[in-house]
Symmetry: D2
Subunit: 257 residues, 4 copies
């Protein structure tokens, strides 16, 4: 679709293609969670970020290739990931495929317990371990980088009245951009919004979203996810060439045995 | 102006307001440079990035308030800065005003010899000194972060056949995002594309553009400047509140003398 | 002094020369504070980090040149800075002198309300503003980078039972190394240990230490300050040369008008 | 061993235990390389950094467990890694063991073609691919962070008259600290000194050292390796605790279904 801004030239407006991946396990095995997310966390997120104008599809663990065929991934600008109980059931081949796509420029937004997913661990190079407590406590998420586009439309902080706690030390590489820090009622803090670059791709880890709480209906949480999708879908440069290469300048050398 | 993407909701497309500031001294005092930039470097840049659809105005040193009144700055999304011979003639009051606007979210793109401008030094906190040589040598600018939106539309590198050399050590804070590194024929390297965040604002330093060479007619250079403007105009978060503040949680304390 | 490790060669052990600067105002004007720090905050810190083997001297605002003559600074490896009420009374000339020394390699450890000192603002390029509340509440300081030498000897966190609160947003450049995050009882978080490099020098900002509380007698606080001194005194490279420079390689160029 | 500095207290001086790992393949299969490194690259490095006072041992691919048993690793403060032809022959179990030790605080210095080693790829999360050319050309390595302890004792740059070229894009996470940038005669640049933190451990990648050239006899190269060992052996904090954890503050909550 082409648009013109003011008297400027025509621009191609490209819609952002988002694939929301969910293991879709707790919502089908635990009635309490099924009541919160009757159609699954992926559908709640899809509905929640729908108004932001993305082209959204979903994929789940039990689908062939976990719903992440080469074709699906090649048409995905940003992949959102939610997993918790079934990390080990994700096939290594699919994990390698996702990693390759991220390095080629696909964005990746990892949510909550996705911190221990194979794909996040693989891209971080660390255990991504942390402290946790499921005690329905209050979380207050503070913006510590208001220059970041992921903070658009938020206030200085927002609150979740009942959430699982994640506490430091969070075993990740130091975020290239630290956007949020959480305060927890029980006395902990957590780096809750962490941005990275890997290859041509952008990665954002966002903490909230335990399946026991209706977090993915919260408007600020949805705003952050939508903002993160837009940020991760920003344009990137040309695909690099690797390997043996000819010189661009004449090489003159002195004595070499 | 409102647009719709696919079947999504209507979006407000906001044009980006760019002010190009130029000291406009060498083009009026040196006939050789006047031949290259007869209407000034600012006009060459304005023409060159025009096709990207920005709302562009220019400002120069000799105008009242250097053309940077509170009104102009408050309506500027991104300020582009070129200066060389007249850094000391820029009034401190205007420099402070620009700094304040950057901290409130205005983008700033500093070009070439602007590295020693008062505003860049003030925002960096260092001397911003470097090595230099005006010898019309070849510069090859390599992309070292192809995930960055500022590299959109570029190849793996681009060349300028005749440019001034800038060499390390460049006395700046380590860039938060290092996008380009230059190779020079005379044997030096330089961190040529350096991105920073300060307050709500984004800053990009881009090396090329000595007045002795027709650099601002080069399509890759113009592309980088246009990309930098878009990046620096990305949305930001809410303006922070500072100072004395009431607690958000009840404070209970033990014995305190 | 020369030492040998095992059967290795002799090494020169160089003592670290530390200058502790204090405005020394509240301790002399407020009896309540004088009771906590009868000899001044600088003396409490000097006593507290004494066992770490530094060569320590102190300097205060009312001394000639604020005790920071060229001679003193040239013999200082690391400068510790505490100020609060009298930031504006520090002469710009001395501030410029300190900045120059930091860029030449002197370490700088800025404590608590020193966030609004002229020297810290000048080196950061931002307002360094924040939220605050003096309400004797509990602060829990979490280690978020246990790889950092400044965390040596600490546990996963340490607590101060009564401290002033500092809250985000803290208007600083994103720390190059974020070492500590504080949790406050009243609901805020704060980036409490922030490491930077400027020129050849290293800078560490450490949050705790309001004059109303006996913070500088806390063993973990003293440990952090001592660790920060050692880190800021690590060796650095050669002083750079700036300005016009001869090529290191032969420059051959094509047609240039 | 205990020492006293000046009139300060006694300190425990701990020697740094270094293990130099080499696949030790090209030196035994290619007579031309055997002439340069008759006892292997590991021995050349061991001899070269010997004067810096480390406790050095070596390990090679063909040894049981590649010479990297749990006992050896647990007593290693810093592991130096050289590999090229036999990356795939390194057992995954040993790679996992090294990763775990790095996360627990062991330093890792990866040299030259080690960029494609399993351990470096695993810790980086990327392909670590690059451009290369074996053409005996000149490399000039520029210091771009003279505040870094790894630059101690170096000039502003140093030269290697004949080296293999490595060119950008180098597919690594953006270095947390970028210390060196190489200039190559053939027209490329490369981020040659890259520092990272992972868990409690520090990692340094250093580019030079192709087996075809006598690079590991160069005094500046040896100085960098020795400096990197010291940096990677700096103290770190306490080992974190992960998993389910009790609150440190009383949690009071409102209505929760």
């Amino acid at each position: 679709m082409k648009v013109r801004i003011g008297s400027g030239p025509m621009f191609e407006m490209k819609p952002i293609h988002v694939t929301i991946w969910n293991e879709f396990v707790p919502e089908r095995t635990d009635p309490k969670i099924a009541r919160i997310y009757p159609n699954g966390i992926h559908q709640a997120i899809a509905t929640g970020i729908g108004p932001y104008g993305f082209r959204i599809q979903t994929a789940t663990l039990e689908q062939p290739e976990h719903g992440l065929s080469n074709e699906v991934l090649s048409q995905t600008d940003v992949l959102i990931w939610w997993g918790h109980l079934a990390h080990e059931k994700v096939a290594d081949e699919i994990v390698n495929r996702i990693q390759a796509r991220v390095l080629q420029g696909m964005g990746l937004v990892v949510l909550h317990s996705g911190h221990r997913s194979k794909i996040f661990q693989k891209l971080m190079g660390t255990t991504c371990d942390l402290k946790w407590r499921t005690d329905a406590e209050r979380e207050r998420i503070w913006v510590v980088d208001p220059s970041h586009p992921i903070t658009e439309g938020l206030g200085e902080y927002f609150e979740l009245q009942h959430e699982e706690m994640y506490g430091e030390f969070f075993d990740i590489p130091a975020p290239e951009e630290l956007v949020f820090i959480s305060w927890f009622q029980g006395g902990e803090v957590f780096r809750s919004g962490c941005a990275y670059q890997r290859g041509l791709g952008k990665i954002f880890y966002f903490r909230p979203g335990d399946e026991n709480y209706p977090t993915y209906y919260n408007k600020d949480v949805l705003r952050v996810i939508a903002n993160a999708v837009r940020w991760a879908a920003l344009p990137h440069g040309a695909e690099p060439v690797y390997g043996n290469t000819q010189p661009l300048e004449k090489i003159t050398r002195g004595e070499f045995p």
